[in-house]
């Protein structure tokens, strides 16, 4: 548990952080967010004593950190810095091994740990362990940065824009990976970001800062539905309803759907289509391949002739997706429902626009 009590930091006349009090509970992800220069990095770096506060006290698990030697404190806290900062003269393996070696772990234990961590962040140890940082892509480097922060299995992680310098697609993958890892490891995490969507996706609680002050500290749902003041209101933007959709998974909204196989005889297809205007088409393995409109039936003599082939990646979603993703697919494709598939691409159901609307309506104003 991290507890900041009325912490301030000033540089001469500039006050970077003022009277900030914040608690991050055990196993919780707290995301610090706010405009540039509002004091996020300063706050983060006071927790591992890279910056000493001008006033106030900081406790970790009840112990005041000013009583712990900085080096010792830092070795027990994972820290992923904004610019990654991998050591260019060390291999990926040596980079990850830094803190374990500072803690004098046995060689075999370190080697084992490197393997384990590379797998955890989704990189093949055989391929990556002996690479140098200049042979990595931006996304790979950031993953190594996270692996390095996790190396000595610290209970607390400080992450300063850990997914900053990558393209939106990779960023999304890294976020999903972070959530998976966090579910498994249950670290106490203080994470800084500029990106509200990232905060909403990753946070158990969001701490919004403005010019050194903590403005609101609450769950993402609460921040989106009840912004404390105009600043937060403006900060989260007018698309709050949309953002809240990204906190809701599609899983409980999936309903069974009609589908036909490529090999289904035309007569049967006609009878399925009696009840609806159009149906999804799957192949013989049940994998999504497209859709079929009732109006095209008379002119065709097989499903293959009548159907419209659809790109699985562009149209379908998985059951891990959020309502927001479902909605954006619907709007993008002009559909009023969107197919849900499993990992292999097999159709398992659909989510309809009506359900998304209902979910939005149910949300508090």
């Amino acid at each position: 548990m991290i507890r900041l009590v009325k912490v301030s930091k000033s540089y001469g006349d500039t006050i970077a952080v003022r009277q900030l009090s914040l608690v991050v509970n055990q196993g919780e992800v707290c995301v610090l967010i706010g405009p540039s220069g509002c004091g996020k990095t300063t706050t983060l770096r006071m927790v591992n004593r890279l910056i000493e506060p001008t006033a106030g006290r900081i406790f970790i698990n009840g112990k005041e950190i000013s009583r712990v030697k900085p080096e010792q404190l830092r070795r027990s806290i994972g820290y992923a810095i904004q610019s990654v900062g991998l050591f260019p003269h060390m291999t990926v393996a040596d980079n990850i091994a830094v803190v374990p070696e500072l803690l004098h772990w046995a060689k075999s234990r370190v080697a084992h740990r490197i393997d384990e961590l590379l797998r955890l962040v989704g990189l093949d140890p055989l391929e990556y362990a002996s690479k140098y940082p200049n042979q990595l892509s931006g996304g790979e480097a950031q993953r190594i940065g996270v692996a390095r922060a996790l190396a000595a299995n610290p209970p607390i992680l400080l992450m300063d824009e850990p997914f900053g310098a990558v393209d939106p697609l990779t960023r999304e993958k890294l976020q999903a990976q972070f959530l998976r890892i966090q579910q498994e490891l249950k670290k106490t995490v203080l994470l800084v970001t500029h990106d509200l969507d990232e905060a909403i996706r990753l946070a158990d609680r969001i701490a919004i800062m403005a010019s050194g002050r903590l403005v609101q500290h609450a769950t993402p749902e609460e921040i989106l539905s009840r912004p404390t003041n105009k600043f937060v209101h403006d900060f989260v933007g007018t698309d709050r309803a949309l953002k809240r959709l990204s906190r809701i998974g599609v899983a409980s909204f999936i309903r069974p759907t009609h589908s036909v196989k490529l090999s289904t005889p035309m007569k049967e297809v006609a009878s399925v289509c009696e009840r609806c205007h159009w149906v999804w088409v799957v192949d013989d393995d049940g994998k999504f391949t497209g859709w079929l409109d009732r109006t095209s039936l008379p002119a065709a003599n097989s499903v293959r002739q009548a159907m419209v082939v659809g790109d699985r990646d562009e149209i379908t979603i998985t059951k891990n997706a959020t309502l927001r993703e479902a909605l954006s697919r619907m709007l993008g494709q002009g559909f009023n429902s969107i197919p849900v598939v499993d990992e292999e691409g097999r159709l398992i159901g659909e989510v309809s626009l009506g359900d998304v609307e209902a979910a939005t309506a149910k949300m508090e104003p």
Binding site: N48, L50, P70, E71, Q72, L73, R74, R75, S76, Y79, I81, Q82, S83, V84, G85, L86, F87, P88, H89, M90, T91, V98, V99, L102, Y132, P133, N134, Q135, R148
Partner: protein, 392 residues
């Protein structure tokens, strides 16, 4: 090396230089040590057979370098150039003896510009072949060093004893060895001191804003003082010092001699080392240092595990510059009585004996090239693997 270069322009230039060298004098026959001599052309120098051999080798080189830049032709080209070096010096050594037959005892034969230019041309070709032979270490080394190895062997075997430089050398063997050692001691010692001092000053300059400006001001200023003047400038204060504290003389600290020479050389070697140390440490990505701190490294650990290995290549590059420069500058130290190879140069200047000057100058050049090669190897070995080339 997938470039589609149809011709090897460097090797072509080398061959043309070589061919041009055949048009000017190869050997000079002088009635005495200091008299002006008559320059002999290629065929007068090394005979028809010898002359045509060298001509043929150079023509082969030119033709081969016109045909393209491939690994295989680079090996042949490199071997040809080495053969030119070996053949030229074999012939020159052989014929210098013949030319002196029937001449007076004090007559001398010295090497003309043609020989030196052929040597230069051959090494231009060898350099080009070496560049092309990136892939094969064995051939690259053979091509680079074979000719030199044979020359050294011939030198030791006394093959050049009738050439005037060697005549100057014979009878001065002991002196030569002594001055050579003195030279190595002068530049080696001062570079060693300069390295220790320079690295310390460089580190200090990065650590302290107050020290930075004065350190660079003084090292820059001293670098602009002409070397001769600096050697001279040190004479007065050092002699004053040694007169005030005679005990210093016991340690060899006097106005002239080794002390002022070493001091001057140390001062000269400071700038490249201080500058490179400073840049080497300053250019480090602050994020890397920050990561080290954030992971709980102590100040000393950051220095040892991050700053030293990352700055080492640049620092050593500074030491290389300082070393090569000091080898040359140490030659001037002879002027203030510090000895070294410069002694022969200044003796030769005084007696107007060109060969004696060369006896000092050539070893200085060879020493500089040798030190450069050794330091380059050290820099390469000390460069961490992850630096330099990016995504491969």
């Amino acid at each position: 090396m997938g470039r589609l270069v149809t011709r090897d322009s460097v090797a072509i230039s080398g061959s043309l230089i070589g061919l041009a060298s055949l048009l000017i004098g190869w050997l000079t026959l002088k009635p005495s040590r200091i008299a002006a001599g008559t320059s002999l052309n290629l065929f007068e120098s090394i005979g028809w057979v010898g002359g045509l051999t060298v001509l043929g080798l150079w023509l082969a080189c030119l033709i081969l370098s016109l045909t393209g830049k491939k690994e295989r032709s680079a090996v042949t080209l490199g071997i040809l150039a080495n053969l030119i070096v070996i053949a030229s010096f074999l012939l020159v050594g052989l014929f210098s003896g013949k030319l002196l037959e029937g001449e007076a005892q004090i007559a001398r034969v010295s090497l003309g510009a043609g020989v030196w230019i052929t040597l230069a041309g051959a090494y231009v070709v060898i350099f080009s072949a070496r560049q092309t032979l990136r892939g094969s270490t064995i051939w690259r080394n053979v091509v680079s060093w074979a000719g030199l190895a044979v020359l050294v062997f011939l030198l030791i075997e006394g093959w050049f004893q009738d050439i005037s430089i060697m005549t100057e050398f014979s009878g001065r063997e002991e002196r030569f060895l002594q001055e050579l050692m003195q030279h190595i001691f002068l530049f080696g010692g001062s570079v060693a001191v300069g390295t220790l001092l320079g690295i310390s000053l460089g580190i200090w300059a990065t650590r302290s804003r107050r020290a930075e400006a004065p350190i660079f001001f003084t090292t820059n200023i001293t670098q602009t003082i002409p070397s001769l003047a600096l050697f001279g400038l040190l004479i007065a204060p050092l002699s004053a010092l040694s007169f005030a504290f005679p005990v210093l003389r016991e340690f060899g600290i006097r106005g002239v001699g080794v002390a002022p020479a070493v001091i001057a050389l140390v001062i000269y070697s400071l700038l490249p080392i201080v500058r490179n140390t400073y840049v080497g440490l300053r250019q480090l990505d602050p994020a890397v240092i920050d990561a080290g701190r954030g992971m709980g490294m102590s100040r000393a650990q950051i220095f040892r595990k991050i700053e030293v290995p990352l700055a080492a290549p640049l620092v050593l590059e500074g030491v290389r510059t300082a070393s090569v420069q000091s080898v040359g500058l140490a030659a001037i130290a002879a002027l203030i009585g510090a000895g070294g190879l410069g002694w022969f140069i200044f003796q030769g200047l005084g007696q107007a004996a060109a060969d004696l000057i060369l006896l000092g100058a050539i070893p200085v050049i060879v020493l500089a090239l040798l030190v450069d090669a050794i330091m380059r190897t050290i820099v390469r070995v000390a460069t961490p693997k992850g630096l330099g080339k990016g995504n491969q």
